[in-house]
């Protein structure tokens, strides 16, 4: 009978696991939708900033601006965005492996999320700043990362700033992405803005980016506009990378929790079968013992 009790308690523990994983799956699904909606809400800002940049890009002031000059300094700064928590399949390791493989000698890291911080600290890559990656993307977080990156770039400490995150393609597919943020490149930005809408799914509606008409740049010089625009473009990069990584994190967690729930259900079914067999065997044994006893007495 001890065997029966053990099986019963195992079944109960699988049931409990399934309840937890199912709840986590539902929570992740809701959070994923929210992150996607938020990403779409940020589009007008990104589109407007891009169209201003596109207008300025033809001018000589733009081509000579230090924000767009190709880097001479080989030192690179990576902003690596991962999640704080695990339980999301290969979400974080995908980004971290990709980055670690392409890192040169002279690199430093701004880590967003505990996983990135742990990874680089244990490999002796200098982590200049660490931000935790909560569900809420606060303006302070965006500004903090943006200012840190701009400061290091402007002071000439680093020649390039790159941002790495898990890009959300669809609920079942996420890919690690690395973009060069500074020096500014219109191609990278356009790519980013177009990538905000996923190619598949409910939100996959593509809006074209306005090609700018002839602006007059009133009273300001183009350099002023460009100088004011640069931090905004960088913060757009940072914001969307954070959103993409959130959407990826939640969908990856949703999928891995779903497979955990399925597996738990399967195990529960198997164990129930085993439990029933063991119980039947015990009953049969008892009955045959009684009959055997009766027959022995009759003889």
């Amino acid at each position: 009978m001890a065997g029966l009790k053990q099986i019963k308690s195992k079944i109960r523990s699988y049931e409990k696991t399934q309840t937890v994983t199912k709840a986590m799956e539902a929570v992740s699904a809701a959070k994923m939708r929210k992150a996607q909606l938020q990403a779409l809400g940020g589009r007008p800002y990104a589109t407007a900033a891009l169209s201003i940049l596109a207008r300025l890009s033809g001018t000589s002031n733009f081509k000579n601006h230090k924000m767009v000059q190709p880097a001479h300094n080989p030192a690179a700064l990576y902003i690596v965005i991962t999640s704080d928590k695990g339980l999301a399949g290969s979400l974080n390791s995908g980004v971290l492996r990709k980055i670690y493989a392409e890192m040169g000698e002279n690199t430093s890291v701004i880590a967003v999320g505990k996983k990135a911080n742990d990874f680089f600290t244990s490999r002796n890559v200098p982590v200049t700043a660490f931000h935790s990656n909560n569900d809420k993307i606060t303006p302070e977080l965006i500004d903090g990362i943006t200012l840190e990156a701009l400061n290091r770039f402007n002071m000439g400490v680093v020649g390039t700033v790159k941002i790495a995150y898990q890009n959300f393609i669809s609920t079942l597919e996420q890919k690690p992405a690395v973009h060069t943020m500074l020096p500014l490149s219109i191609g990278e930005l356009q790519h980013l803005v177009e990538g905000i809408t996923p190619t598949k799914g409910v939100f996959s509606e593509q809006a074209s980016i306005q090609s700018p008409v002839g602006y007059s740049i009133e009273l300001d010089s183009e350099i002023d506009v460009l100088t004011a625009l640069t931090p905004k473009l960088v913060s757009i990069f940072v914001y969307h990378a954070l959103l993409e990584s959130h959407a990826s994190e939640h969908s990856a967690r949703m999928v891995s929790m779903k497979s955990a729930s399925d597996k738990a259900g399967e195990m529960e079914h198997k164990l129930t079968l085993q439990f029933n067999k063991a119980r039947q065997a015990a009953i049969t044994r008892e009955v045959s013992e009684i009959i055997g006893g009766m027959e022995a007495m009759a003889n």
Binding site: A48, R55, V213, S216, I217, E218, L219, D220, A228
Partner: protein
């Protein structure tokens, strides 16, 4: 005219407006519908949005930003 005022992570205002007055870096200016396209930086001050005549104008204090006027609408990035 269609007016969007946006921070990087939220839309502060999105709708139709009769006029918008902004603290431009060279002085205050008012943009009406069919203004010629332009880009300018903004300094700290207050944006005043006038909608219909019987609606109280909306005031939004800002720390600085950027104004883009296009033929199809006006966008302010904060």
């Amino acid at each position: 005219m269609k007016l969007i005022i946006a921070k990087v992570d939220e839309r502060v205002f999105d709708g139709d407006a009769v006029s918008v007055t902004v603290p431009g870096s060279q002085g205050e200016m008012t943009v009406l519908g069919s203004h010629e396209p332009l880009i300018t930086t903004l300094k700290a001050g207050t944006i005043v949005i006038k909608q219909l005549a019987d609606v109280e104008p909306i005031q939004i204090p800002i720390q600085g930003g950027m104004l883009e006027v296009r033929t199809d609408g006006t966008t302010i990035l904060l």
